[in-house]
């Protein structure tokens, strides 16, 4: 009986498990876990004069990265990410709410209209903003043509421009989870709240907000974290005045050629990410609602 049982277990449990989960495990271990471990190792390495990585344990990289200059950029990144997330919530929430709860027959169309712009290459769209906002760009041309301004507005290459670009790129990651969360809202709860005497504002604070908070949380995570790494937005629109941590990393792997330093920067970014995710989980965030 024992042998037969073991054979049955193999056939109905172990073998299928191996076959189905094997490939994924391979991908995750070889292409995610091991590379990340290697990055950690590399962050403690140094380079020789030929920019080759030396396997010699050193804390120099991290020491450099806690200097004032770097701390300034970390603070700037977090500030940019924070403002971006806030704007995404302020614009995205009402928008998602209106679209998700509309009775219009064109609801699906409205939803698709949000997604369609994002099927165009994001770089070229950001470049579109540059064209629009430049000193000789569209906006200034039109404003001057209409005699609304005498001189061209200097809109590019500021922190605000970078934030605009970030919001533009990341707002769908706020809208989509919010839309899902708001759609699940049971209309009869709102009716009950009104029935019990609550004004719309009160209903919003006491009923709608708590019930859709999961959407806000997952949206915030999906906006804040990528923001720290989106170097191309600050490159194209910010012109070097609004670097985020992503820019620092990119520089070390391209022109700076100091991979260990870049690795250490990446570790710092990972640490910040982990802190945020833990915060998210602590506030009741559901890991399963990310990425769907």
């Amino acid at each position: 009986m024992e042998k037969a049982h073991a054979k049955h277990q193999w056939r109905s449990n172990t073998l299928p498990a191996l076959l189905t989960v094997g490939p994924v495990t391979l991908v995750l271990v070889l292409l995610v876990a091991i590379p990340l471990i290697y990055v950690v190792v590399m962050s403690f390495c140094s380079i020789d004069q030929y920019y080759n990585v030396q396997l010699q344990f050193t804390l120099d990289n991290y020491k450099r990265l806690v200097s004032a200059n770097y701390m300034k950029i970390y603070a700037q990144s977090i500030l940019i990410a924070f403002v971006t997330t806030l704007l995404c919530i302020l614009i995205g929430y009402p928008f998602s709410y209106i679209i998700a709860r509309t009775q219009s027959r064109r609801k699906k169309l409205l939803y698709m209209l949000v997604i369609i712009p994002f099927w165009t290459n994001s770089l070229i769209r950001i470049y579109g903003w540059r064209t629009f906002l430049g000193t000789n760009g569209w906006l200034n041309t039109v404003l001057q043509f209409l005699h609304l301004t005498k001189e061209p507005l200097d809109l590019l290459y500021k922190q605000g421009t970078t934030i605009l670009g970030m919001v533009y790129c990341l707002i769908p990651f706020m809208i989509l989870p919010l839309y899902t969360a708001i759609e699940k809202l049971d209309g009869s709860l709102l009716e009950a709240s009104a029935d019990l005497g609550a004004k719309p504002v009160v209903t919003f604070i006491k009923v709608i907000l708590p019930l859709t908070s999961s959407g806000i949380f997952s949206g915030s995570i999906m906006v804040f974290i990528p923001c720290l790494g989106y170097f191309f937005v600050s490159d194209i629109l910010g012109g070097g005045n609004s670097d985020v941590i992503g820019n620092l990393i990119e520089r070390q792997f391209q022109s700076g050629n100091n991979w260990p330093l870049g690795a250490a920067l990446s570790i710092i970014l990972i640490v910040i990410t982990l802190v945020l995710v833990k915060l998210y989980q602590r506030m009741g965030g559901d890991m399963d609602s990310l990425g769907v």
């Binding site: 009986m1 037969a4 049982h5 054979k7 049955h8 056939r11 109905s12």
Partner: protein, 368 residues
């Protein structure tokens, strides 16, 4: 002639849960056998072990004399009708029913004729191109049955198939299933928690309780001669009196219970043995004067009219209720009156309690 299904010494243990305990059950060919019990008693687990979705922890299961415990579900000649119907949502009704035949690579023409024949049998002609989501509960039920039966299994396993249907439809389907079974002469093993359903449809009932087979018998045997207290109370309604035997006079047994003494008939009962006495409500009688051999007194509390029958609620001195049933139209004493319940001694079922069985076993060891 052997049995078509034999369950020998089967145990099923999940971690710390001993769900099926030493089950011995032999199913005759062509019979409608029901596994009856409340949830958690092990009946569904037993069925799934015969189907192949669970493996017995120990013991063996034979189908047509061959052991099948190591066979996969798709290697067995039994088919199942699932509680949730489990119809394939992405296939038409025709394709659902034809599925088993297609797997066996039956020729197309034969598939068509057999499916058509089966759909006529379950009265679903015209539904071939529909999808499960377009069908009502009763219709889905019939598709599930057709899909299983078309494979001409030796044994059909049904896992509470009528649970989700409304009362009227359920009663209709009970008769249809019974008719189908008789017509096709296939062995049915049926699982349900509804004792009325079991009594209506079965040739034999196996009552399970806490993983143990309490009693196996025909509906009549189960109802009239329950062998354990559980069976007596599970099937139909009954009144149970617990007490010690004070006198054994041939077949007439006198028992001292909390409210007095009563009599019943039975064999193999000894004095001072602790037993239970079961009397069905419809067998209870009462008079306004004391009756010989009985010394219980009770007070009529209320009557409930249920159409053809009147349920009488009668209070015993210790606060317990007696259930008595009388036919409508009889004249009955007013609420508040004192009555003396009694019955025909042959109508009482005397049941050995478990502890006495153990006592007996110990005695036998000592003296042999």
């Amino acid at each position: 002639m052997g049995y078509i299904v034999e369950i020998n010494g089967v145990n099923k243990i999940y971690g710390k849960n001993h769900v099926v305990k030493d089950l011995d059950l032999k199913v005759e060919e062509g019979e409608f056998l029901t596994l009856l019990g409340s949830s958690g008693c092990g009946k569904t687990t037993t069925l799934r072990m015969v189907a192949g979705f669970e493996e017995p922890t120990s013991g063996s299961i034979l189908v047509e004399g061959e052991p099948i415990e190591e066979k996969e579900p798709f290697e067995r000649n039994v088919n199942t009708v699932f509680q949730s119907y489990a119809l394939f949502p992405h296939m038409t009704i025709f394709d659902n029913i034809a599925y088993g035949l297609r797997i066996k690579k039956v020729p197309k023409a034969e598939i068509k004729s057999r499916v058509t024949e089966m759909m006529e049998l379950v009265q679903l002609e015209g539904f071939e191109k529909r999808y499960p989501s377009q069908l009502s509960g009763g219709q889905k039920q019939r598709v599930a049955i057709a899909r299983a039966l078309i494979n001409r299994p030796k044994v059909l396993l049904l896992d509470e198939p009528l649970g989700a249907l409304d009362l009227k439809l359920r009663k209709q389907m009970q008769l249809e299933l019974k008719r189908l079974q008789k017509k096709l002469n296939i062995t049915f093993i049926y699982v349900t928690h509804d004792q009325e359903e079991a009594l209506t449809m079965s040739d034999r009932i196996a009552i399970m309780h806490d993983g143990i087979l309490d009693q196996l018998g025909t509906p009549t045997e189960i109802y009239e001669q329950p062998r354990t207290k559980f069976v007596a109370t599970f099937i139909g309604e009954t009144n149970i009196f617990d007490g010690a035997v004070v006198k054994v006079d041939g077949g007439l047994i006198t028992v001292n219970v909390e409210n007095g003494s009563i009599v019943g008939t039975g064999q193999d009962f000894r004095e001072s043995e602790y037993i239970s006495v079961s009397v069905r409500p419809e067998k209870m009688k009462f008079s306004d004067t004391p009756v010989e051999n009985f010394s219980i007194q009770a007070v009529v509390k209320d009557y409930i009219y249920v159409g053809s029958v009147i349920k009488c609620i009668v209070l015993l001195p210790n606060g317990n209720e007696l259930k008595i049933e009388r036919l409508a139209g009889e004249t009955l004493p007013k609420p508040g009156s004192v009555i003396y319940p009694y019955w025909n001694p042959e109508d009482a079922v005397l049941i050995h309690t478990q502890s006495d069985k153990i006592f007996e076993a110990i005695e036998n060891i000592t003296f042999s």
